[in-house]
Symmetry: C3
Subunit: 138 residues, 3 copies
């Protein structure tokens, strides 16, 4: 059995982080699937999906560490062609990745007590982001 | 067809790495599934799942590089709220990620000769870790 | 429904990047599956799969940033045992990861306009790389 639902979120630009755990929970519930997996995917090359404990401290820390490891810079080769100031956005999104898959048991996402799912806008400008959620199982 | 099995491992705390390849092999074998995928997921926000060649050198290197990139520090905002000394644990787990999916062919995980699956305890204290393994296919 | 296809690519060694989006598109098309997921996996411990905008700038940037974060070095413990100069290759491949899963809708991979799938050779020598593509759904 496959159930697929496309959701959209509005981001305000660079480092806007959204908790999308409830949206995922709702899609699983609507799917009627009890056992299997749920796959979450950011459509687009400058946003990503991950799992973290969503509390105000870590919401800042994840953004800070990404900018420390892969800092905004005009020296990326991407800039030579596009001059759009978001070379680091692409690289951060690639390192963290656009996809996450979570097990589904008894009709619910199997997450730890503090484990939640986020969408992170890595681009420097606002976007309407398309996120595809696919539930598979029985 | 879906087959799901929950396994637990006991970790000794920060940077305890477990080879869980055999456990995955056993779950696939018990599932009876011949062609499809196997999904492995660490339930909890301070542990992660990855693939690597498990030999004593790399087992140390992966831990060392994670601590170099995302060092233990009291300056994470997470510490301001929780004072539990594991801000880096959360961030390392998020960057490496809680999930891994591997193809299944002829009833076996398709892995390279040197490619194995590990669980890494990123937290600074010991945990009983829940890992969910889901096999899907036919 | 499950459809699985194994493809091979020839890499020239360290940092050879291949766009494999067309190969994935073809496998989905041949599968006849309209709704579900496609899973892509690099078999082997020194190559990886990711998503990025494939233009000449970013193709260089992703390689540069990986070498900056996890530089080639003879100080990895892996070298003490193997002396093969590819400690960083293993670690880069583990951090970026061997797997990627993308939703399939209306018989097509759901990717952003600029979002494509790459295979990156992290090893320092040439390889014939096995990539397994699994399409699941209905």
């Amino acid at each position: 059995m496959v159930y697929q639902k496309h959701i959209t979120i509005e981001t305000t630009g660079n480092k806007d982080l959204h908790n999308i755990t409830n949206e995922i929970t709702n899609v699983i519930s609507n799917s009627g699937i009890k056992t299997g997996i749920v796959h979450i995917f950011n459509v687009g090359s400058t946003g990503c999906i991950g799992a973290i404990e969503l509390e105000p401290g870590l919401e800042k820390d994840i953004v800070t560490i990404l900018d420390k490891l892969i800092p905004p810079s005009s020296s990326y080769k991407h800039e030579l062609t596009w001059h759009d100031g978001n070379g680091h956005s692409h690289l951060q999104a690639t390192i963290l990745g656009p996809d996450l898959t979570i097990p589904v048991t008894k009709g619910q996402a199997v997450l730890g007590v503090w484990q939640q799912v986020f969408h992170l806008e890595c681009d420097i400008k606002a976007h309407t982001r398309n996120i595809m959620i696919t539930v598979m199982g029985e």
